[in-house]
Symmetry: C2
């Protein structure tokens, strides 16, 4: 049988990895897929560089629409990124009856509903294993491996840049700004790192996982997003003393009382003994809690040329193996059948339930702790642990660290406002959410 012909839109880091791995492992991949898989056409604005990567045997064009229009092409890989031209090209590829493989989490988190509906209409597959956690097959685990379960929550380290920065901050006791500069110098963070450090990239991925886990539409605009830019070395150190590490987690959670779904990205204290707390550097890991299976965890490289290519090619093999199946008997894009999505609401941040780490800079005088704990007690927020530092020599102020039990965020915010108004509280209170992940 002649090979499946693939057209590649955008040959940067992941695209060249995909081309190289497909070439290097072509025999192994053919033995698995039952048919060769070949990239026969590449579109990239930088035609020269593209030709250097793929050589003369592959047709290189500047205009992606030439790839889509080519009737020989069975599958289109979109590795352009972003919401604009990528959206138009993916929709055009679908309209032309091509299967699509993409690593574009931003596109799917925002325009997924439109794109999956168009794919269904045309009976083609839009595969996106590479969009979440690089080479880790987490989309497949959620969509196929855990289908028996009522999934209760997902919590993941799904952005390697921020995990690298947090690991360095902890190892070396440095503040965020210093480590970010180092990370940029080392190539672990981009020149404009906003999407990573502000949590936006993680929120795109958490949005996709929330849809897969709970059978709801993708709703990126409902995600609560906080990055790591305000974290200080002091809080990382105090957390450590209390048996916790701080990780930027993407969390999607079904509320126990059936109230709704929580979808949020924020720095989180996690018990040091959990495996996920020990995921260091640029690695990714996702925990999934299901009612039958209990806790499972998936770990690996969340980014990079060949790890991400591994996921892109897994999707190519899936399509090659299964594309003759009638479209009503395939694996649904978002795990649930498209006419079976639920409208369970994603709740606002005030309704989210977590425990908290609080750090208060206070005057070192009698009655301060009593005033703070009274506010918490009156707010019905119970305290798990208190750590009070002695004042440094010559200072008359100190840090009070409080770990609370779980509470509703709105209640905590009201209590924080009251505590902040105390004359003995001398600086803005730091509050970081805490999850036991048990």
């Amino acid at each position: 049988m002649k090979p499946i012909q693939v057209g590649l839109l955008g040959i940067g880091t992941v695209g060249s990895g995909t081309f190289n791995v497909l070439a290097r492992n072509q025999e192994e991949i053919r033995r698995r897929a039952g048919r060769g898989i070949e990239i026969t056409m590449v579109a990239d604005l930088n035609v020269e560089r593209a030709r250097e990567i793929v050589g003369d045997a592959v047709q290189v064009v500047a205009d992606a629409r030439e790839v889509i229009a080519n009737p020989e092409i069975d599958i289109v890989i979109e590795l352009i990124g972003g919401y604009g031209i990528a959206r138009a090209l993916v929709l055009e590829a679908i309209a032309a009856g091509k299967h699509v493989v993409t690593a574009n989490k931003a596109l799917l988190a925002v325009h997924g509903t439109e794109i999956f509906a168009a794919a269904r209409e045309k009976g083609v597959i839009v595969a996106f294993e590479a969009a979440v956690a690089g080479g880790i097959p987490i989309i497949k685990a959620l969509r196929e491996g855990l289908t028996a379960n009522r999934i209760q929550w997902i919590a993941g380290i799904i952005n390697g840049t921020t995990n690298f920065i947090l690991s360095e901050m902890r190892d070396k006791g440095l503040d965020f700004d210093v480590v970010l500069k180092q990370a940029q110098a080392l190539g672990y963070a981009e020149a404009d790192p906003t999407f990573d450090i502000e949590g936006v990239d993680a929120a795109h991925k958490a949005t996709l996982m929330s849809a897969l886990a709970f059978g709801i539409p993708v709703q990126f605009d409902r995600a609560h997003i906080e990055g790591i830019t305000k974290l200080g070395a002091a809080d990382i150190r105090y957390a450590e003393q209390l048996g916790y590490r701080i990780k930027l987690l993407g969390i999607a959670k079904r509320q126990a009382d059936g109230g709704g779904i929580e979808l949020r990205v924020h720095p989180t204290l996690v018990p040091s003994k959990r495996l996920i707390a020990n995921v260091e550097g640029a690695m990714n890991a996702v925990m999934v809690q299901g009612d039958a299976v209990g806790t499972t965890l998936y770990y690996g490289k969340g980014a990079g040329s060949e790890p991400t290519a591994s996921a892109v090619i897994a999707d190519l093999v899936d399509i090659t193996r299964l594309h003759t199946a009638d479209p009503d008997h395939r694996v649904p894009h978002l795990a649930f059948q498209p006419d079976e999505l639920h409208a369970t609401p994603i709740v606002g941040i005030d309704a989210v339930r977590t425990a908290f780490y609080l750090r208060l800079r206070v005057a070192d005088q009698k009655g301060v702790l009593a005033a703070i704990t009274r506010i918490l007690a009156e707010s019905d927020i119970s305290i798990d642990a208190v750590l009070q530092r002695e004042s440094a020599e010559g200072e008359n102020q100190t840090d009070v660290i409080i770990l609370t039990h779980e509470t509703v965020e709105g209640r905590m915010r009201a209590a924080l406002a009251q505590m902040q108004a105390l004359p003995t509280v001398l600086a803005p209170i730091v509050s970081i959410r805490k999850e036991e992940l048990a």
Copy 2:
């Protein structure tokens, strides 16, 4: 559409979990599968107990062949276990045109070639996610998630009983026999624990993973198998001091020189800082190293009623989603197309390459260490670290611990024989393989 009808052979721990989870999550599962999935018939020799579990709405019979003969049944779940009657029933179900789901690793590791060939002949699916690592979707990861990769090795904690025993031995400093009795009292080990503690169960699972990873036939009879019965608390303690933990690993590895495949189960020193070294109690974890993706790890409950049921039901959903696909465009049972298996040999243990931990009980006198290290040097085995204990008071003997670099096992065995023959070596030398898993 009317539900897919499932017949269940053997309703013990996993069978009742499967029945209960299917009932509890039927709505969630139907939304994913696109069709209801119902167990409508159960065969178990203990008809009374079976009826107590499933109630009156399900037909219960003593004879499994009645289930297979029922034309209404689309899928047969085999949860009887063992090689004998289970083999006959699985082959009969295939012959009757039923898809089969099984958790029976022993059956597939020994008779897989025959069973998968029969399934291919009839165009039916034999699914076995539950056969390895309980609820962790590791079969799916190997068969579908990592298809881009030339897989280099797999190393897994794939037997919960032995991991529980090893965790207890380390935590409490106890010897194997004592902990085994406790584990039996707690229900973590069976009355006859032979298959677990001698490594046979792990070898069944490693055999299946070797086929999935390397595209070779299942060859359980070629696996090298050592259990944990000879491990002492002293070696666990010494390993800890050197920065290692001892885990029973199932390993399938492609030799770097292309010589063949290693397939082995044995106690293994693993660096304490690796995530897999921190997998405690009855939990399972599997590491997979691929040339594109790098290291990935999959963690979860490896046994138990509902975790294993989670995997059984995932297979039911897969079959429900995909059973209309033409048999030549399905996911192949063993990851590679059946006519694309290779005959790469599984090498004998003498050709295996690992590093070693050695403990020698020696006379506390001059020249002992020199004699030992000379033998290693002459055998071309290089030393990574030496730990020599002072003699206990009043004793004139002591332990010498040696970590070696990687060597060929046959060479190490010859060196061990020479060292054992030294008059100053006073007890049988303990040797345990060591893997860096980097």
